[in-house]
Amino acid sequence: MSYIGRLFRMKDPFDLTGSERLFLNAVRENCGFQYQNCPEYRKILDGEGFHPDMLREYSDIERLPFIPTLFLKKHRMYSMPQRKMLIRATSSGTSGAFSDIGFEAGGLLCGLNMVLTIARRWRLLSPIPCNYVVMGYRRHKSSNAAAAKTAYGYTLFAPALSRTYALKYSDGKFSPDIDGVINAIVRHSRSRFPLRFIGFPSYTYFVMKLMEERGISVKLPKRSLIMLGGGWKQFYKQQADKQEFYALAKRVLGISEDCIIEAYGAVEHPILYCDCKNHHFHVPVYSRVVIRDVHTLKPVPNGTPGLVNLVTPMIKATPILSVMTDDLGIMHDGAECGCGINSPYFEIIGRVGLHDIKTCAAGASELLSAAVSGGEVQK
């Protein structure tokens, strides 16, 4: 079996030290494949003066040129023909541009092993059927949006009795149906079966806040869960304090903090990070996270904020071996957490951008272009 396959079958998903050799070999295997099969990737490595053979030591992984997600949104790059890609997924593309990532069978199998290992460890797999409320949109034939696929995937961890979606698709666009969601919550709270929420933190927070304003509070059945994903990023400014979020969930839904699980991931880096009981994202054996200096792009020591660079050899069809996100984060020593997982954990503290910067030279005029396109949630 390939190094990559073996990496994703490791029993202990947090044995980082034990997986170093295997991880390096898997990265070299993937890098060699991309270099051979993706002309653009090869040009990038050549241009940066790097060759897959230079991956000799574990620490060489940090020297591997990374591709910004921003770059993937502008340039489609693949290492396999279309027919070998079982799935195509696109990022949410809030700004209009989105990346389109192809996944081949081998990579998806790795992903499945990973999801099962993590889901088992987090006790997300359950034979008890439950009702799902998805704070996102239903999968739709005309869309490859990964958010919808991931959310749907989550509804497979336990048999589904029902699925209610917060965003409804009609006439070519999505519009929120908040009342429908609140009605479903109230209805399912009387059920014998657990309720699982899945979706963006911001939407979930918004619904709970609305319920509180309307004086609606329920006690959800035992084993109910809130599964948050998709990040807080678009709503970074209004980012609800997490403690307030947990307190609100307790008041309005009767769900305690340990039943709220947050996941981090991206189309360009399909690794499932679930937060531990102290709400930290520990790095699993499947990936490595390098925080880089915002000026020099050199790796920074733990505790220093920087750009979040994610490395995983999972996928071969698209050169997403090492990607640079738009996120700013800090890495911490695993021991600082105290949850029992010893691998280091990272914290997302914000996003790159000139959002608050009032620039006149660059033209701060997006506001008005939004006026022309209208304010609905576009597909």
């Binding site: 990038i44 241009g47 940066e48 915002v294 920087g306 750009l307 009032k358 030279a361 660059a362 005029s365």
Partner: protein, 430 residues
Amino acid sequence: MILAGGKIYETSEQPRLLDSLAGEISRTRQTLSLDPEKVINAADKLGKRAAAGEFSGMISEFLPDFPQEYLRLAGEYLNGESLRFRLKQELGEYPAACRTIAPPYGLESAEVRLLPLGTLFHIAAGNMDGLPAFSVLEGLLTGNVNTLKLPQADNGITVEILRRLIEIEPEISPFVYVFDTPSTDVPAMKRMAEVSDGIVVWGGDEAVRAVRALAPPGAKLIEWGHKLGFAYISGYEDKPAELSALAKHIIDTRQLLCSSCQTIFIDAEDMEEIRAFCREFLPYLEAAAHEAPVNDIGAAAEITLRKYSARLEEHIGAEKSGREEFRGERCSLTACPDSRLELSYMYGSCLVKPLPREQIVTALRECAGNLQTVGLLCRRESRGELTDILAAAGVNRIMRAGNMSVSFCGEAHDGEYPLRRYVRVVNVEK
């Protein structure tokens, strides 16, 4: 928050207030006029109170990062003496300018009056704190009724400034309407545009296009667009001093202003000279960056990523641009073989390009609409000639290296006197 007739209303009252807007404005214009002297006195008082620190609490609440320098500039701007100087400079005797003329043919005598345009609708981008209020103040100085749509990024300071102004001079109140309408509410913006004679828009090409789409055919569009600044170097009077000043300007303005230097043109043809300049200037830039480091890591990261992506693009591109980056600590210079004026990556990352003086007009022609400020570094004996060439190319402000973003009282804005655009000439037969 909405400000109308001197009173503050909740955002939810917008539909009702919009319904009565046309009627109220007509009533104001039929029965009232605004004396510029009253506006000047109110602005002067407001400026003095601000300078005395009366609003420090308010400013730290709304604008935690507000540079104290701005407060001094605002004080100078609002000063009665400078406002009177501006009015005179831009409009001559106003509003008393009711001149009688005796034209050579036709009527024997006619009267010429300079009057307010009528109602101005200001659409301000959030590119500078307090700018929307200053835009309205210019409208008031010329006696116009002003409707303002706040930029999304406004933090409440605009309404507060205007409310205080009205508090000092209540006669201003029927001349000011401020709405916090989001830009997505096109119908509401259309209604504001419909009651206007002039639409003042601050912003880039996209903003201007959007406003043109919603403006009624008869309205006069007054556009204050985005501009690009550059430096032109053809020798020096005092090289170290001038290069230090230019570096300090680039770093201190973060290259965010219309007048900020984005590209440095060198009076040369040979790329080796361009590279030599980069090597020589980089330490100056580093020293300035060391003095005033960028603390916003989100912005710094964004710029770093953009530069890195551009490098990758260069790798996969079929054509090589021939650009060469000279990386310094927290700053960079890019030697480019072309002579096009271009926006840099900002935050201490300047482009350096060859532009022999014989080709200045040709090279700048294609961005004539975006020209504004040049920082001119040259030998004393060439200054006159180069000034004339740059002016002929369409540049409106020709400054010294370090003063590219320095403004003075009564100066033109993008080649025009703003107040002149807010008035019209009325002829009356005697």
